[in-house]
Symmetry: C2
């Protein structure tokens, strides 16, 4: 491929659209003819403020959010949101966290400081191989928190949970903007950018009006209070300017194709991979069929000794990032929006050939 690029199945930071990288290369020394480079321009310059506002509008359009939502680009990743969400919203109340694995567990831990945390459903006893279709919500819960896609176990919700009057908080880090979703049913949507949106170092947060109203009554410190950032139009302190530029360009790339088309491609290629993995006892796909992720496909080999062999041979064939998360082992192919079809095709061919040779 151009620039000697290989096929990149990394779970994040992950592959980005090549046209965005090419545009970034042009803009590094000189942004939009200003004579000042992208990383070197004041975040308060009109040129950058325009980019920032374009990015906020772009997020709303791509996700289909009404104007009443507020979009922020903060720093510190989803890990910081594990703390900010309960501090801004809980205020000693009760909340529900759906436990679909490592990330949910980390979020639960941080919430404990701020109120009564319930876990009405956990996949722990079944190795997190599925997402739930329903559970008993805690009466009077302020919010329900769920992780829409789990990168480690390769599971994904294929519906938005109905949580009644409670607010709905979604950690959408690993599948945001990968398919149309009724995002307007969520009160807080947050996502680290480094999977479907851009580089590491930017966190997207979208807040409904009622989430923001409740956040205003919080005693969170300045930098952790959503209200601080909302009131300063997202620029309380210097944001990750380059990261926001890339995010805006990546979402423009999604918008040009249409989210429906992007989603159809994501579904089609994950379907093809699951079909292959289901096709013989040589492969052991991890997730239950109705909970399978279109972003992160995880599996093992019946003969576990062949897993490192496969990973090495794949690398030799120009396919990188197929090793499973260190906490679970096995294999994982991450196929985010920006993965070229040629990479998905190359993976399928490689796996078929590997099975033919070793199966």
């Amino acid at each position: 491929m151009s620039h000697g690029r290989i096929h990149n199945f990394s779970a994040g930071p992950a592959v980005l659209p090549l046209p965005v990288l090419e545009e970034l290369r042009e803009t590094l020394p000189n942004l939009e003819g200003t004579g000042v480079g992208l990383m070197e321009i004041s975040h308060r310059s009109s040129t950058f403020v325009d980019i920032f506002e374009r990015a906020r509008e772009r997020v709303k359009r791509v996700l289909g959010l009404p104007d009443s939502y507020t979009v922020l680009f903060l720093q510190g990743g989803a890990s910081s949101q594990f703390l900010m969400v309960p501090w801004n919203l809980l205020h000693g109340g009760a909340c529900d966290y759906i436990d679909t694995g490592v990330w949910s567990t980390k979020a639960v831990k941080e919430a404990g400081r701020f109120g009564e945390v319930h876990v009405p459903w956990s996949g722990k006893s079944t190795e997190y191989l599925e997402t739930p279709s329903s559970w008993s919500s805690t009466p009077g819960a302020v919010y329900t928190h769920y992780t829409s896609n789990n990168t480690i176990y390769g599971t994904q919700f294929h519906h938005v949970p109905d949580v009644g009057d409670a607010m709905l908080v979604c950690d959408a880090s690993s599948d945001i903007a990968s398919r149309p979703q009724p995002y307007e049913e969520m009160d807080v949507i947050y996502a680290g950018a480094q999977k479907n949106l851009g580089p590491a170092g930017v966190t997207l947060i979208a807040l409904s009006e009622r989430a923001l109203a409740r956040a205003r009554a919080s005693d969170a410190p300045t930098m952790l209070a959503y209200a601080t950032h909302v009131d300063k139009k997202g620029m309380f302190n210097t944001p990750n300017t380059l990261g926001i530029w890339v995010l805006e360009r990546v979402l423009a790339w999604v918008e040009e194709q249409g989210l429906d088309a992007v989603a159809a491609r994501n579904k089609s290629r994950s379907d093809r991979l699951y079909e292959l993995l289901d096709g013989s006892d040589f492969w052991l796909p991890h997730a239950s069929s109705d909970s399978r992720s279109q972003m992160n496909i995880t599996w093992r080999l019946a003969d576990a000794a062949l897993e490192p062999v496969l990973i090495q041979e794949a690398l030799d064939a120009g396919l990188s990032g197929l090793k499973g998360h260190r906490s679970v082992g096995g294999l994982r192919a991450s196929m985010y929006n920006a993965l070229p079809d040629a990479s998905a095709d190359a993976l399928l061919s490689f796996l078929q050939e590997f099975e033919r040779a070793r199966g």
Copy 2:
């Protein structure tokens, strides 16, 4: 200049070394021959871990810190350190904050939650035109916090305060690595990267052994506890990988020249500008002569009506970023490490010509 670049005197994000930008352009689609781009490679890949460790070592070498210090690259800017420093170190004790302007004031505000905050010296009543040479420290204070350079007022400490047995905490955001300093006399050094180190979105933190030991006893939440990040070798969560790469390359660029040479250049060109400003009543430099910043030179015109004229004519002549901070007005030239000498020369010539025409 190449790429149509103009002279950039922005206070931050600020001008970066062109050779680093050129190298970054090459590395965006393909990092070190891996076939994977810089923003797209896993932060846990051996290639990136090597870069990360090189950056940590580079910081210690350039700042002259002993091996016993721990270097972190977090997110959230100095504004997040205003909160993390007291939460990790104060534990209900007393501390001193030296108030040299806006940034110190913000830091004081966050510390109030965690203990007894004293301000033994404030420049507020004299429009923050100087930094103090001494003050009465609070007996038993856990630490003293100071801002080594103030971007808004153009003031800078030209010595490291002696605070006895207390720990010394330095917000070095705007003059880190601009001159040799006895950094090993400081227990916490923190700096947003977007002035002398790289792009916005990375915060450098260096901790002495005793600072880290005290931080370990803190009740800070996971993401705000220094110990979390130290124990995970700086990779508790996904760091700003591109920003860290740039920071490493910028410090390599400093190291190649030698910090002494960089400092001599910084001093020489700020001296020349101050000499010009002192040369006639046409100009009114802000800071007291013994407190003047070598990074941010601030001044007014005797005829304030000429200030917007100067800013516009400068921009027309290819000199950008000369407008003073919105809170104080006037003029400001930021001349960080990476400012080319040609830009400093162009500014001097422009100001001489402006005075000749209007003085």
